[in-house]
């Protein structure tokens, strides 16, 4: 994490942007700026373009605080594992005086967690109603960064001890890592979002190819092209305008 550097504002994958947001870092107000909740990192920039960014793996938790007796303003609270980067520790108040040896944020290491060094950041938007969206956006982005160091070997899908797998193995041809594959028997609900998009695309193609019969007079094949430009090259080529003008309707 770098503090108050001149960084480019994120443009892609920004799930939420909140202007007029004050950032308070370990009790120190950094000024008013804009919070960007992007899929790659969380960042905040003040009016002059200076700011900081956080990588999601370094964030231990985040919360909405509406208890004004605890902190006078409703805000988004973010707890970062570890201390700030090397750049500007002089001004920053140390939260945990007993943990001084580690000076840098390691986003992957467990060391910081064990030592318990944390940085507390509060994002105080002028629009308190935005807190729910800010919080939800952070939840979504955090979920995009699961812990790569998860030592849980159960996530390794090689195991065969799994009952339902035994039953389903008979329908699967040649795939050993059962849990990551579903036969078409599994149905639509087992599809991921990409799978569903692919299915819709294929179904669209089927629908189009049926409709093709009625356009054999050469009227319109261009409309079909747009749907298939994302990967079904063979069929897209076949749907070039005019290619089927002389085809018999019966061929379909």
């Amino acid at each position: 994490m770098v503090l108050l550097r001149n960084l480019p504002t994120p443009t892609e994958g920004v799930r939420h942007e909140q202007a007029e947001t004050t950032a308070v870092l370990d009790g120190q107000k950094l000024g008013c700026g804009t919070l960007y909740v992007a899929e790659t990192r969380l960042s905040w920039f003040d009016g002059s373009g200076m700011g900081f960014s956080l990588d999601y793996p370094t964030i231990g938790l985040h919360a909405i605080s509406r208890d004004v007796s605890a902190y006078p303003q409703e805000h988004l609270y973010v707890m970062v594992n570890g201390k700030l980067g090397d750049e500007n520790e002089a001004e920053m108040a140390e939260k945990a005086p007993d943990d001084e040896e580690d000076d840098s944020i390691s986003s992957g290491g467990d060391d910081d967690d064990e030592e318990g060094t944390i940085t507390e950041i509060r994002f105080v938007p002028s629009d308190k109603a935005a807190l729910d969206s800010m919080f939800s956006a952070m939840c979504e982005c955090q979920a995009l960064h699961p812990d790569p160091e998860d030592d849980d070997s159960d996530n390794d899908f090689e195991g065969e001890e799994y009952d339902v797998e035994e039953a389903e193995k008979h329908q699967i041809h040649g795939h050993a890592d059962i849990p990551t594959f579903y036969t078409c028997d599994e149905g639509l609900s087992a599809l991921t979002q990409e799978g569903q998009a692919t299915l819709e695309r294929l179904e669209g193609m089927l629908a189009q190819s049926v409709a093709q019969q009625y356009h054999m007079a050469g009227v319109r094949t261009e409309e079909a092209n747009a749907e298939f430009e994302d990967g079904m090259e063979v069929d897209a080529a076949a749907l070039e305008a005019g290619q089927f003008e002389d085809a018999d309707v019966d061929h379909w």
């Binding site: 231990g60 938790l61 729910d132 979920a143």
Partner: protein, 137 residues
């Protein structure tokens, strides 16, 4: 990438909605996270690795053990209490999740598994496209 889990049902009983992500369902089936997912709607305490604790109602637990709580009482390492309306704890920072005493652990796991299997067997029960019906049926 990974899709977020479905929004939880407001009721405190019954199996939690299953995520639409195949990867997350598979992880859940193969680990004890599935028990935590069955705690949706329950009030429980989560101990974090940094010695703090959070007590609140479980809104959602995903396959990576990220825990979302609401109406939380958060106690930091210095035993200072703070109320938080919503709290999201990154799975990596969770040390323990307390299972409420009244929870029947086996039943919770079984009903969560059943939920996942219902999703998986959706087509063979007559829903979905006929082309995907199992040959054996």
């Amino acid at each position: 990438m990974e899709s977020q889990g479905n929004e939880p049902q407001p009721s405190g009983h019954g199996p939690a909605e299953v995520t639409s992500s195949l990867r997350e369902r598979t992880i859940a089936e193969n680990s004890m996270v599935i028990l935590l997912q069955g705690l949706q709607g329950q009030v429980t305490t989560v101990d974090l690795k940094n010695e703090s604790t959070a007590r609140g109602r479980v809104v959602n637990v995903d396959a990576f053990m990220n825990i979302r709580l609401k109406d939380v009482l958060y106690r930091d390492r210095k035993a200072q209490l703070t109320r938080l309306q919503e709290l999201f704890i990154t799975g990596r920072n969770v040390r323990y999740v307390h299972i409420p005493d009244h929870i029947d652990i086996m039943k919770t796991i079984e009903s969560q598994l059943a939920k996942i299997h219902r999703v998986r067997n959706f087509a063979s029960q007559g829903g979905g496209r006929k082309e995907y019906t199992k040959k054996t049926k």
